[in-house]
Assembly symmetry: C2
Homo-oligomer: 335 residues x 2
């Protein structure tokens, strides 16, 4: 049998109310009584039941995290940021994979609500109109990570994807690249769209045309990058730079180019996104954009906890800084 508060009370010869007070560090307890209770706790090995406590105080000190796929390292780093902040404020996190599936999204949210999470962090690269509404009506506090509802009715923290992509494309244009190919996500979505918009704006400004046939869509992993590059090379189309949705795609693209006898960056420049750890050890080192994922998670958690503990009801959008990381895969000067 687990020991509960009445067992401690009996042991210490006090009421459960008093035990509760010392457990919760409520000051108005006699030093001597407190000592006795503390001893009884130690002796019995009492551990408070957080479930019972939560039911009473109507707070669980638990945050829910909805995440497309925990095995995606990008998101994992964010989760780590959330976790660390939770540790400071004595919260725990319940994890829930959504697998980019709308049904799973709804199921996850329901469970997190039923388990009475004080707040929920929704992480993803897209957010449907419908789910936005669902989130707005949720009884828990919500913060979005890496996405935003375009209207800003929900709180969110993310980088400005459009301008990051713009900056990177601008850098490529300044280096002298002219024929841009894009390897992006098969599924249209918030992040994907913003980045393409950014590239497009930079090209427009420079008066460079973006050939629609040079915008390829595929799986945004190494294999996807490999097959998009292979396909593009086989098409015989001309291009001198490929901008990829992420570093994994870039790595696949680079390998495919090499397999076809093309050198990166001598024949083709390639850029990634996200600055994955391998990107500075790969050959060639990959030019990319760094997102402060850990910080995004930490900021989101801090906001959410504040929202849970006060009734600050206005939504805020926090824009995290990004950084263009220039490396070998896209030289300063096109050849």
């Amino acid at each position: 049998m687990k020991v509960k508060i009445v067992d401690v009370a009996r042991e210490a010869n006090v009421s459960v109310a008093t035990v509760s007070r010392v457990v919760n560090n409520i000051p108005l307890v006699n030093e001597e009584t407190k000592e006795r209770v503390l001893e009884a706790i130690k002796k019995t090995g009492y551990k408070p039941n957080a479930i019972a406590r939560s039911l009473k105080i109507q707070r669980t000190n638990t945050l829910g995290i909805m995440i497309p796929d925990i095995s995606n390292p990008l998101y994992t780093e964010m989760v780590r940021g959330v976790e660390d902040i939770c540790g400071i404020y004595n919260y725990n996190i319940i994890l829930s994979n959504t697998d980019f599936s709308p049904e799973k999204e709804h199921e996850s949210l329901d469970v997190l609500i039923e388990k009475q999470c004080d707040g929920i962090i929704y992480i993803g690269k897209n957010l449907s109109e419908e789910f936005q509404e669902t989130l707005k009506n949720a009884p828990s506090e919500i913060v979005l990570g890496c996405v935003s509802d375009e209207k800003g009715e929900l709180s969110s923290v993310l980088i400005d994807n459009e301008s990051a992509a713009y900056d990177l494309a601008k850098k490529a244009i300044d280096a002298g690249y002219k024929n841009f190919a894009l390897f992006y996500d098969r599924d249209e979505g918030f992040v994907n769209r913003k980045r393409i918009d950014g590239v497009r704006r930079a090209l427009d400004e420079a008066g460079i045309e973006l050939d629609p046939e040079l915008i390829l869509r595929g799986n945004i992993n190494v294999k996807g990058g490999h097959s998009m590059m292979t396909k593009l090379l086989e098409s015989g189309k001309e291009f001198d730079i490929v901008m990829c949705m992420n570093d994994q795609v870039a790595i696949g693209a680079i390998r495919a180019a090499e397999d076809a006898g093309r050198k990166v960056p001598d024949d083709i420049a390639v850029t990634g996104f996200n600055d994955y750890w391998i990107s500075e050890w790969f050959d060639p080192k990959i030019t990319t954009v760094r997102q402060p994922m850990y910080d995004i998670g930490a900021i989101a958690a801090r906001m959410l906890i504040k929202m849970c503990e006060s009734d600050e009801k206005e939504s805020r959008t926090i824009t995290a800084p990004y950084e263009i990381v220039a490396r070998q895969s896209m030289p300063e000067h096109a050849c």
Copy 2:
């Protein structure tokens, strides 16, 4: 105000007991009544309070996961396996980072117990004697992932690290390598020790001496691998193969060798461990050992859930299969 079971009862003109029965799908409810309750649930938007339910039924359908660092991709894949099984059996997971710190380990465990997790999965590469005892006395069910208590008093699922390392070393010996260097973990620990034991056994059998000065210890990441290789090359010691604690260390080691003008695998062979995704895209592709991390997580979760739902009290050790993945960084024949 959140709607609760009495609100639904009032709306449907039944007792809370009846509502509870339809929510929990207990069969002995009149079809008509059930309809009415279902309608009332829909109308009111009722979502059961899992906390209250848990308090009553003394089960939370929640598993705790203790993990050194969620941003380590090896562990993440395991977590994914756990998650997927949890999805099937309607469990959720609370995540808790331990950062390889004994204090954090104790704190984490306490919180998971206080939050009444039905079971706890402890993931790590080491398990102190002291914490073993703590785990054995925990009120929740426990399964270890990737480690085991050597006595087998706790349930666990992991590969046979000793024999995996043995097999890999044997393969190297058969290929003709003679001078072995090892890049392992600075902190001694279960996994590290097992792997070194395995290598040692293979070398002993082949009558090859392992020079203690060729066993280097450092951080087991890319930088650590890089600096260990640099140091080893500077020492002027002779060696023709380096076996690394993981693929990241191997990548660092390979880069450092190249930086020093040595070719891998022509001058030095290098092996990793864990078969990280980049390992087959890196140049040279890395010879390594694959652990079925996803499966380990899934098996652990299944065991744990079974333990929670029955009172099968005997501990079991499940040995997961590993696979030697031969690639370019250690050729079949030493040069």
